[in-house]
Symmetry: C2
């Protein structure tokens, strides 16, 4: 699976969150990390879309949608003729959206009134129109206020959102973790101790995540039985 | 009531629909017709917002939201400090949205999947955040395919959307029609026959609309009684 990450951020160099996301992907292949910039080369952008399977729109939420940069991209790159040729048919559309509001502020009766799902309807409608499969969005609430452990969990969620073909199912998550560990073991240079340590550290972190996921699943099953 | 109409249209000069809307307002006062253009003067735009009571966003639906031009305007003019000073509190936010899709194409199970109300949630959330009162949007479906009689009805709906403080209630519509007729009678130059004819024609058209509205109301009452 090849993934294209389209970032729409007016000050990407100054964004700690965007740097965090980018750094988390350095050891992965088949990812094109592509900040949108003006002027837009329509042909190049359309070719990028054609040559990837999962398209991820990544942006901070400004006035309940992406920054104007993404809308400019949509209005120019996603022409009627491009869409009518079913150029995006069967591809996946994902959204990684960062927001300065807390998770608890969204939804009916809360300050932001609507859920993230509701707010992102225009993108869901776009996926529908383009015959794409709409992935559950990955919202990131108040990243800078997150505890380090939660940032690490988010990192793994994000890595899977970008690289795991089956990230929303437990089995898909398990096989993704196994694959990551095996890949790291087989590709390591045993003479390089510091690299080895990094790898072991990563394996250990992944294993913890796997245990957490199993524990969560057990809890869910217990709750279902009660 | 003072109304500001903010138009976001990349080719406003070539738009028959936008010309239709603009022409329909020539005899009304207290309306500022303001196409958004780049570069945006933030101070001027904020002053325009402050000095009006009803703000109408008018645009064609591109990818289930306004053209990038409006998003650029939102991202720059509606700064956090401007909103936090409650600059828009108590004002009304209306949306006139034109779409190339038919009315029947919107909603669950239909090609566009979501209703216009759902698609416009980001603007509703914005009104909520800015402590504005969100008016029911005025969607205009496939204007160029409309029969002349329906275009005329739309014209009156649009005039009311822009100028009638109470357009969504029947009594508010009746008093608006009366006011329009009276205004035309008192301001006419009786020596000017062609103007007089135009006025009479307009009064007659308005009267028909009023009769239609009364008839519709009777029908609704009858349906309720059954």
């Amino acid at each position: 699976m090849k993934t294209l990450i389209l970032i729409a951020h007016p000050e990407i160099e100054n964004s700690t969150t965007q740097k965090f996301f980018q750094t988390s992907l350095v050891n992965f292949e088949n990812i094109t990390y592509h900040p949108i910039s003006i002027p837009i080369n329509i042909e190049e952008e359309q070719q990028l879309l054609r040559s990837n399977d999962r398209i991820i729109l990544q942006f901070p939420l400004f006035w309940y949608s992406a920054p104007a940069l993404l809308k400019t991209w949509q209005d120019t790159v996603l022409s009627t003729s491009f869409i009518n040729r079913a150029s995006l048919k069967g591809k996946e559309l994902g959204i990684v959206v960062t927001t300065g509001s807390a998770k608890k502020d969204f939804g009916a009766g809360n300050p932001e009134r609507f859920t993230i799902s509701e707010i992102l309807r225009p993108y869901e409608a776009m996926a529908n129109k383009a015959m794409m499969s709409y992935l559950p969005p990955l919202p990131v609430y108040q990243f800078l206020y997150m505890k380090p452990i939660n940032q690490q969990r988010l990192l793994v969620d994000y890595q899977q959102y970008v690289t795991n073909p089956n990230f929303s199912h437990f089995n898909g998550q398990v096989s993704w973790f196994k694959k990551q560990i095996q890949k790291k073991i087989t590709t390591q240079d045993s003479k390089n101790t510091s690299t080895l340590e990094t790898i072991l550290d990563t394996i250990s972190q992944n294993q913890e995540e796997l245990d957490d996921l199993r524990w969560n699943l057990d809890q869910i099953k217990k709750d279902d039985d009660n």
